[in-house]
């Protein structure tokens, strides 16, 4: 038994894990390329310099937050509001951090710091799938962190290259093309599949309506107020369902 396990462990080298991570990430990257390019076009359109637009991709490295950030910069929102909005938009990563933490618990701090930087939606999605499969099988890889590194670096380089391409193109696209509309469309494409149950629909509807009502709030605070109110309404609906005896597992509506 021990011999078999050792042999199988040997098959999982850092290199093979790294490459497997890259491979798993590739199909997702097909969708990331246009998304990154749209970001680049918008960032330039919003008045960011080429350097700042590029730097946001490598410093922040979070698609949705970058879209929202660019939009708020364009609208002239104060820095504190933009930073706080970034916090809210990226809060979902706490879930990723929590669910991936047990698999990385034995790593030294340097690995943890590096992998945390690479923990995007896309890298998380393929990695957690793999880790959960592995958890269910008797064979454990001692190098599984290399898998996340491969997926994360594949995502990172694709994001940098595609946003750079968008930034380059952005300078050439005339404003009559209304490319800024792609922000709303991108968010529609991401939001609709998230409407899985009554609490999420309630959260979305109330956040949207409050965002319209609160549009005139100073410092562009309307977005935050609307998002937090929408979450509160969603939780309230959730609590009512629970008290009415509906079963609901946390995480269902992700």
């Amino acid at each position: 038994m021990a011999v078999v396990n050792t042999n199988r462990l040997l098959r999982h080298s850092p290199r093979s894990e790294f490459i497997a991570g890259i491979r798993a990430e590739l199909p997702i990257l097909l969708g990331v390329v246009p998304f990154g390019m749209i970001y680049g076009v918008l960032a330039v359109g919003a008045g960011l310099t080429v350097g700042a637009a590029m730097a946001m991709s490598s410093i922040v490295f979070a698609g949705s937050a970058q879209f929202v950030g660019v939009q708020l910069i364009h609208a002239g929102a104060p820095g504190m509001v933009i930073v706080f909005t970034t916090f809210i938009v990226n809060l979902r990563h706490i879930l990723y951090s929590a669910s991936i933490a047990p698999f990385l618990a034995r790593l030294n701090p340097r690995w943890k710091w590096l992998l945390a930087y690479l923990l995007t939606d896309e890298a998380y999605a393929v990695t957690i799938t793999r880790y959960n499969q592995e958890a269910a099988s008797p064979v454990k890889s001692a190098h599984r962190h290399w898998y996340l590194l491969g997926a994360g670096l594949a995502m990172w380089s694709t994001w940098q290259i595609s946003t750079a391409a968008g930034i380059f193109l952005g300078a050439q696209v005339p404003s009559s093309w209304s490319l800024d509309f792609t922000i709303a469309l991108t968010f529609i494409a991401l939001a609709v599949p998230a409407l899985r149950d009554r609490p999420s629909v309630a959260a979305a509807l109330s956040a949207g309506i409050i965002a319209v009502l609160a549009f005139g709030m100073p410092y562009k605070l309307g977005l935050i107020v609307a998002a937090i109110s929408g979450m509160a309404v969603g939780l309230w609906v959730e609590a009512r369902q629970l008290s009415n005896g509906h079963r609901h597992e946390p995480g269902d509506s992700r």
Partner: protein, 106 residues
């Protein structure tokens, strides 16, 4: 705020969230209410952005058929609902807006 300082703050906030539980705790179970609240972040934040973009393109509420972004956005939402395909949603919505801009005088 200086744009570079802003970028660094945005980056730090994002990184701190991603790092938080990886470093703090080996195995953690967030209380259910926190998990539910986190699950509601995407629909709440996204629609708080979408609604004003579609309903008040000029900065004021416009529920008329002259609001091309609302029409194109509604079509895109229908495509998203049926296909769950991000690229197709963006493509259909964008083409719809261009066609409407040509067809309907504004």
């Amino acid at each position: 705020m200086n744009v570079w300082l802003l970028l660094i703050c945005m980056g730090l906030v994002t990184y701190a969230i991603r790092l938080s539980l990886i470093v703090l705790i080996g195995r953690v179970n967030l209380p259910p209410i926190i998990q539910w609240a986190l699950c509601l972040v995407p629909p709440a934040v996204l629609s708080a952005i979408i609604f004003p973009e579609l309903l008040m393109p000029g900065g004021t509420l416009d529920l008329s058929f002259g609001n091309l972004r609302l029409l194109a956005g509604a079509l895109a939402a229908a495509v998203a609902w049926r296909t769950r395909n991000v690229l197709l949603t963006i493509g259909v919505g964008m083409v719809a807006l261009w066609v409407l801009q040509v067809v309907i005088p504004h």
